[in-house]
């Protein structure tokens, strides 16, 4: 025990390996909680099927709803899930336990984020497949553009989710807090309708919200095929939100329950 240092150094795992191990653990836990897995994956699918079925003949509407649901899926699996989970993990003392182990904080949080990103990717894939084979929407027009908006979208909403978890006082309040943001945002941002047809004041609010711009970008990539050069404004708004979210996420982060 006296020369502990000599025996331990070679076996210390890298931060990347530990992030990977945390990611694998989160995936395992995700699938072992069927109700959460169902809610996370099936809700967007269900909404897509419902709206799709109602407006099946109306190609113009289907073209709006597909990128809309895809954008909602990204927000649900990153922003909502992270705000919710972090509040739970903090209140339950899991974060504090992890903090007491040699796990580097960055590895731990990377594992959590990667888990959320995986869910976002699964959701987008499901949406694309259902749109293609259920409603006859073509394959996405521009895969690279899709990849870029997906990457920026998960980063932005992930950061905002972590930041927002700092504002939630306790786990009992988490559903109310998360939905108080999530529900108005998905309605105003045009998940279910074209924002161009909305009243002027809603249109103006929508122009500020990041989800509107994510949906615009996804719409360009998946439906209209407009080049990314026409979407730089949307990209800029998303990145601005992401930057603010990132700063708030890091600055406000607490491993311990509040009130201690």
């Amino acid at each position: 025990m006296s020369n502990f240092a000599q025996q331990q150094a070679p076996h210390r795992r890298s931060a990347v390996t530990l992030a990977w191990r945390q990611y694998r653990l989160e995936r395992k836990l995700f699938w072992r909680n069927p109700s959460a897995a169902f809610f996370n994956l099936m809700l967007p699918l269900l909404l897509l099927l419902l709206f799709g079925a109602v407006f099946a003949g109306n190609k113009k509407y289907v073209d709006v709803i597909v990128p809309g649901i895809a954008g909602m899926g990204v927000m649900a699996s990153t922003f909502s899930a992270l705000a919710f989970n972090l509040t739970f993990l903090r209140e339950q003392g899991v974060l504090k336990r992890v903090r007491g182990t040699p796990m580097p904080p960055a590895s731990y949080l990377s594992g959590l984020l990667a888990n959320a990103v995986t869910n976002a990717v699964i959701q987008i894939t499901v949406v694309i497949l259902v749109a293609r084979f259920g409603f006859g929407v073509g394959w996405p027009k521009n895969w690279i553009e899709l990849g870029i908006f997906l990457a920026v979208g998960v980063a932005t909403f992930g950061a905002l989710g972590v930041a927002f978890s700092h504002a939630i006082p306790n786990f009992d309040a988490a559903p109310a807090y998360v939905n108080a943001i999530f529900l108005p945002v998905i309605f105003i941002s045009g998940v279910f309708y074209d924002t161009q047809t909305a009243p002027a004041f809603l249109k103006e609010i929508a122009q500020i919200l990041p989800l509107t711009h994510l949906i615009d970008g996804l719409s360009a990539a998946m439906v209209s095929g407009k080049a990314i050069s026409t979407q730089l404004g949307s990209l800029a708004v998303l990145l601005a939100w992401g930057a603010v979210g990132g700063v708030l996420a890091v600055r406000g982060f607490s491993w311990d329950e509040r009130g201690n």
Binding site: S2, A5, Q8, L18, L25, V94, G100, P102, M103, W255
Partner: protein, 293 residues
């Protein structure tokens, strides 16, 4: 590896202060924990125990004072230290949907030289529960898994915060056995507890904290000084009144009273010689002075 203080010191705390705004939770606390001993931290709620332990664990920053844990400063939580310290928190959830074996394997992978998983399961007495998910474990079994998670990294030093709260007497005995076997493996243990019999049973030395200061430190047998450990001889006299005398020389005193009683042909009902337990001394030391209301 930097080892600043002498090799037989596990923890050194000198003049530790911690303030939250106006209030001073820890007000000039000093003590030392030697390697390989079980050290008990006792004190009423709000005495500053938890704050002190959380400073030692690296969860909190101190206001001032000197703190070394295994030769390192815990502030900033150096990874070298986290690899050698195990922590059992008072309330901390487990991953409900992981099995005992999975949880231990995961946490083992975070340490450079972990204990064997099955060996750890045996050490805390969770054999037969390896494949049970945490949510199916009883309260006592969860606390044992908690302990196992703190031991999986094969730490040199373990912090146990109220390790047997909520245990039935049998489970407590079992936990005490685990703590004793840890001690015999050379692990240093810092134990915070409300149960004074637990401290008396397990601790090599204890410190009693009150109002953010150490009011007494020593072995459970000697703590509080010689006068605190005077023998008490008590009996019921011929009028039915309870008598009690504290003395340094119980043999001489007993000889005198039993002699008198014999000569008078009386029986001394309820004759008892006792020494104050750690609990009596603790209560003496931490009792609030009569208030001014």
């Amino acid at each position: 590896m930097p080892t600043v203080s002498s090799s037989d010191t596990a923890i050194e705390v000198i003049d530790l202060h911690k303030s939250y705004g106006e209030t001073e939770a820890v007000a000039g606390l000093s003590f030392e924990v030697r390697r390989g001993e079980v050290f008990g931290l006792l004190g009423p709620n709000g005495a500053g125990k938890t704050t002190t332990v959380e400073i030692l664990e690296g969860y909190r920053a101190r206001t001032s004072g000197r703190v070394t844990v295994l030769g390192l400063d815990p502030e900033g939580r150096p990874r070298d230290l986290r690899e050698r310290v195990g922590i059992v928190l008072q309330n901390s959830a487990l991953y409900a949907n992981l099995t005992v074996h999975e949880a231990l394997s995961h946490f083992a992978s975070l340490y450079p030289a972990p204990r064997n998983v099955d060996e750890t399961i045996a050490l805390v007495g969770l054999q037969g529960k390896e494949d049970g998910r945490s949510r199916t474990l009883s309260g006592g079994q969860r606390r044992r898994l908690d302990l196992a998670l703190a031991l999986i990294g094969d730490p040199d030093l373990v912090f146990l915060d109220e390790p047997t709260t909520g245990f039935d007497p049998q489970a407590r005995r079992a936990a005490w056995e685990t703590i004793r076997s840890l001690r015999s493996l050379g692990t240093t243990i810092v134990l915070t507890t409300h149960y004074l019999d637990e401290a008396q049973e397990l601790a090599d030395r204890v410190a009693i904290i009150k109002d953010g200061r150490v009011v007494a430190e020593g072995t459970p047998q000697d703590i509080g000084g010689a006068t605190a450990h005077q023998a008490r001889v008590s009996w019921t006299d011929e009028y039915g009144a309870k008598q009690e005398i504290e003395t340094d020389m119980p043999t001489k005193l007993l000889h005198e009273i039993t002699g008198t009683a014999l000569a008078a042909g009386r029986e001394l009902t309820g004759l008892k010689v006792s020494r104050p337990s750690l609990e009596d001394i603790y209560l003496d030391l931490t009792m609030e002075e009569p208030g001014d209301e």
